[in-house]
């Protein structure tokens, strides 16, 4: 393509970006409830995701209570324990993290960061949220159906997922699958918007290589999700048919309660392939937006341009592509051909390369930066540490020979909570502390924020560090009560109790965060338009919070990338993306 740096003498042509026909709300209902404004939809997504996330948090408390003090809480029986595990995992991975990163952050940040007035298909965007809400409601309804929610584990492996003996076999599993199908339909509507908006609605001058890494992360994750979620869709539909109509897609011939079932010949491994073809990209669907957000937070709060921007972009794209060829590393113990294990171990280890590049670049961005230890920065640093931690244990589990003895132990639980539980949540919190002033016009309370950070960060390590050790001892996961077991020493039980207390404390710290979010909405310090001195476009809106249509009469024109911090010779320590070059502004060619 031809790339024409603009002629600095002749002045600037007006922004000739195709005008989006804006939708204008006519009533309170269409302004705040059935709104087609991406910013309102983003807030709706976030509130819904966090509400259902609170349910999952409470479930994790209940699980920890049982594990830490087995036998003390008579209201938690083995069935319920399995149901709590299942719902906790499913909610956290799909209904909280995926929805929050793409539906929440994506909706709010994409149009603002690319200098657009709104998403390109606002109506479809609105539908996306309402279908998502319906999916959440169907999911929540499983707690109230006869038999309760399914207890099949978040992977929903057949045959046990639909056989009697698994809790929630009557209704829970049906509602669960229906909810997943709805979620995927809703997500596809939203995802089309995010992708096409990034492709077509970027403002003048904003080339792909000038996009903030947050947009790159969300964009790539959305593309991956659009291609990977169909696998979960196919698996869910087929499992639903097995359960409801007695087909045998996945169900082998088996005897249930002494009776030969109507099923026969199906392949449970087929389900695992489909599930993990979605399941592994899902890890990066959650991680890539976090990578992007962290890159931006670090750059802004260290007042330094991101180190190796190009590498960062390439790494995001490479991770996205590679994540589609590693799925079977979740299936080392499922009875695959050993050569498959070799292949998937190799691809898994290759992913470590682009990921490591990202970590090095974050560290090099911090190197000799003017680091401000603001709350968002603290969360960003915590993300890097936690992600490295979880990534290193990933190297253990990615190797077949090491994975086999560690499979189904607490080591696996500790690994994936570090890498895709704690780490992305740190990015979520960092992102919320960072962009809250833009969304509401007020700062979140700093003291409460620091309290929230230190308790969450240290507490999360208090929970999950010892869990690695329990896993190495051989403590299995998914067990309601480990009982008297030869290889588990008494000290392990004490450790479990300690972790449970830590989990309760971390959970309560999140209530402090919720209080902070609500309190600051009314009483927080006025933020002004750009409290952090950030260069990217979303901070340059004429109003804060951004009004309908985001920008005033004219769309901004972009003259530079999003990371011009501490530029030698510049007046301020940041240069906004839409500030004309010095030569131009001297001529008064642009206001």
């Amino acid at each position: 393509m031809v790339d024409v740096p603009f002629d600095t003498v002749a002045g600037i042509p007006p922004a000739e970006v195709g005008e989006v026909e804006l939708y204008h709300p006519r009533s309170w209902w269409t302004r705040y409830v059935f709104s087609q404004d991406a910013k309102v939809i983003a807030v709706q997504y976030s509130i819904t995701a966090m509400s259902i996330g609170m349910v999952a948090l409470v479930l994790s408390w209940l699980m920890r209570l049982q594990l830490g003090f087995p036998g003390t809480f008579s209201f938690i029986d083995a069935n319920q324990y399995l149901q709590f595990i299942t719902m906790h995992g499913m909610i956290m991975v799909i209904y909280l993290l995926t929805a929050l990163f793409l539906g929440g952050f994506g909706n709010y940040l994409i149009p603002l960061m690319v200098g657009a007035r709104d998403m390109v298909f606002p109506y479809v965007n609105m539908l996306s949220y309402w279908v998502y809400l319906l999916a959440v409601l169907v999911l929540a309804a499983t707690f109230f159906v006869p038999g309760g929610p399914t207890g099949a584990g978040w992977t929903l492996y057949p045959p046990q997922a639909i056989l009697s003996g698994t809790p929630g076999q009557d209704w829970g599993i049906i509602f669960m699958l229906a909810s997943l199908i709805l979620f995927i339909i809703g997500f596809t509507m939203g995802g089309l918007n995010y992708v096409v908006t990034v492709l077509q609605a970027r403002t003048r001058g904003l080339t792909l290589m000038r996009l903030p890494l947050t947009v790159w992360g969300i964009f790539t994750a959305t593309v991956m999700a659009l291609l990977a979620f169909p696998a979960l869709f196919v698996a869910s539909v087929m499992l639903l048919l097995d359960r409801l109509l007695g087909t045998s897609f996945f169900m082998p011939t088996l005897v249930e309660m002494g009776q030969l079932t109507k099923y026969g010949g199906g392949s449970p491994i087929l389900f695992q392939h489909l599930f993990w073809f979605f399941g592994h990209p899902e890890v990066y669907i959650v991680a890539l937006p976090a990578f992007g957000i962290i890159s931006d937070l670090i750059s802004v709060h260290a007042r330094k341009n991101i180190f190796g921007y190009r590498m960062m972009v390439w790494a995001i794209v490479a991770i996205g592509a590679l994540s589609f060829v590693v799925w079977a590393h979740h299936m080392y113990v499922s009875g695959m051909h050993p050569y498959f294990g070799f292949f998937f171990a190799t691809t898994t280890l290759i992913i470590a390369i682009p990921t490591a590049i990202k970590v090095y670049n974050w560290v090099l961005t911090l190197w000799r930066g003017d680091i401000h230890l603001t709350v968002p920065m603290l969360f960003a640093l915590a993300f890097i540490i936690t992600f490295v931690n979880g990534g290193l244990t990933g190297l253990f589990l990615g190797n077949v020979v090491v994975d086999v003895p560690l499979s189904d132990t607490m080591f696996v639980v500790a690994h994936f909570h570090m890498v895709m539980g704690i780490a992305p949540i740190m990015a979520v919190f960092g992102g919320i502390y960072h962009w809250y002033p833009k969304v509401t016009g007020r700062m979140l309370n700093e003291v409460l924020g620091r309290f929230h950070f230190w308790v969450s960060f240290l507490g999360a390590y208090a929970i999950f560090f010892p869990m690695h050790y329990l896993g190495l001892l051989g403590m299995p996961r998914r067990y309601h009560d480990i009982g008297e077991t030869v290889f588990v020493p008494a000290s392990a039980h004490d450790l479990n109790a300690f972790m449970s207390v830590a989990a309760l404390i971390v959970g309560f710290a999140q209530l402090v965060f919720l209080f902070n979010v609500i309190w600051s909405l009314f009483k927080g310090k006025e933020a002004g338009g750009n409290p952090w001195g950030a260069a990217s476009l979303e901070w340059q809106t004429p109003e804060t919070p951004p009004g309908h249509g985001n920008w005033g009469k004219e769309l901004p024109i972009v003259y530079r990338w999003a990371y011009d911090y501490s530029v030698p010779g510049a007046i301020r320590d940041f240069v906004p993306q839409n500030e004309p070059p010095a030569a131009l502004s001297a001529q008064g060619a642009h206001p």
């Binding site: 596809t188 659009l226 010949g265 190009r310 051909h337 972009v558």
Partner: protein, 234 residues
């Protein structure tokens, strides 16, 4: 999983080609000023709706590729009994081809600003799509009368499932087609309709292509091909 991997390789090739046009080797930290980017040079004429449809087709393609993957894995199990494909399917296929051709005609008429041509094309296309769907239902009936029920064999299950998913996508297309036809009916200018008609035509061609692939799969024509793919991977 070979079908989906092939599909993903295709998507990756397209994405790679597109990315290679995007100056990914630029050094944005050195470049100041307004850059005229690719959209303004070449693809500015591509409306967002068309790109949106393209992305959506990739999603639908991935869905069907996954169904095909599942199909080809499941059909290797011992209990698989291929079901006789009703002759009606050939008639249905011809009708679907007609539908696609009619919409292509509507698209071309819209380019010539020929309103009557657009109306004829849309109506014939829509009607034949409905006939196709009815034909599929009749084929189902024929099979169930002959004793091939949904749950009696995995081959049957896949037949019903895959045709149903394809039919549902066509029904979704009919909604869009209906809205476009309604717009013509209410006298919207042809220039406004060009895009809608074109998008309908693209979607129809895509669903026809998917149907032909599925038909090959269901009638067993692609068995050999699937075998080759499997041998490549194992």
């Amino acid at each position: 999983m070979s079908a989906i991997l092939l599909f993903m390789a295709g998507i990756a090739a397209i994405a790679g080609w597109w990315l290679s046009q995007q100056r990914l080797t630029a050094k944005p930290w050195l470049e100041e000023g307004v850059m005229v980017d690719l959209r303004e040079e070449g693809t500015a004429s591509l409306p967002p709706a068309k790109i949106g449809l393209g992305v959506f087709l990739a999603v639908v393609g991935s869905l069907f590729a996954l169904f095909i993957s599942a199909y080809s894995m499941r059909m290797n199990m011992v209990d698989w009994r291929t079901l006789p494909v009703p002759a009606l399917l050939w008639f249905n296929t011809a009708v679907l081809v007609l539908s696609s051709v009619a919409l292509q005609g509507a698209h071309m008429a819209a380019r010539r600003s020929d309103v009557d041509g657009v109306i004829v094309g849309l109506c014939v296309g829509g009607a034949s799509a409905v006939i196709f769907l009815i034909g599929q239902l009749l084929a189902w009936r024929e099979l169930s009368v002959a004793g091939y029920f949904l749950a009696s064999n995995p081959a049957n299950s896949f037949f019903y499932l895959i045709t149903a998913v394809h039919g549902l996508h066509l029904m979704g297309g009919l909604v869009a087609l209906g809205r476009t036809t309604a717009k013509v009916w209410h006298g919207a200018a042809v220039t406004e309709l060009r895009l809608s008609v074109e998008l309908c035509a693209i979607y129809w061609h895509f669903l026809l292509l998917v149907w032909l692939v599925l038909l090959g799969l269901l009638t067993g024509w692609t068995d050999n091909f699937v075998d080759i793919c499997r041998q490549l991977l194992t």
